[in-house]
Symmetry: C2
DNA sequence: CTTCTATTTCGACTATTCTTGAAATATATT
DNA sequence: AATATATTTCAAGAATAGTCGAAATAGAAG
């Protein structure tokens, strides 16, 4: 993963609203959650949420699928894997990073 | 780790300059690097670098120690561990999220 | 084809971040 | 004390992000 891409994804996760959204989606697993459900949960204007969702979509961290009038959001687990991989491998490569094991 | 703190650290890492700085410091290991060396490496105004360093310091990702007129910067490996831990545990990295009701 | 629900886009505003040169501070050396 | 080096703080402008309500769009159902 390139540094620029990692930075964009980190920036995207680095907002409390978006991190909350992302966490809810990761925890929801493969089923995902409808936008409306996220809005109820977080309690912000629909347009604001939509704006944050676009940020997460643009960086590839989540995706949306339409089911009738409802948009289902899902975390993209692969991109999270790659991001954590970047932090652990690319950044901790030469150092004694005690995060157990996962060096690819 | 609280969500707010994780978000602040992610935001701090989510800027290309700061991620570059952080990566350089992690790779430099326990010895760290002087501010001036980082400036040469990255090529921005000293005041700009100082501003970014403060962000990384404020979020606990790096620290500084004075050696005569020089300030040595070091990555705080423990805080990186905690942050990756948050992403992995709290947000459930390895998919197959065990949705054990702790959603909030 | 009208209406209903769900969500996005638009427009406008405020707040925050990024950037830099100049001035200030800290420490060492003469 | 005067000078030199390393770095920060200050001040100010430009750029970007966050917020919201209103209007627009997409699809389903009457």
């Amino acid at each position: 993963m390139k540094l620029e891409k990692a930075a964009k994804q980190l920036e995207s996760l680095g907002n409390p609203v978006r991190l909350q959204v992302y966490r809810a989606l990761v925890r929801a697993g493969e089923d995902g959650l409808p936008v409306g459900h996220l809005q109820d949960k977080i309690g912000i204007a629909a347009s604001t949420l939509s704006h944050h969702l676009r940020s997460l979509i643009n960086t590839g961290l989540i995706s949306q699928e339409r089911q009738a009038t409802t948009l289902i959001c899902r975390a993209n687990f692969q991109s999270m894997d790659q991001l954590v991989g970047y932090l652990v491998n690319e950044c901790c490569l030469d150092a004694r990073c005690k995060t157990d094991g996962k060096v690819a």
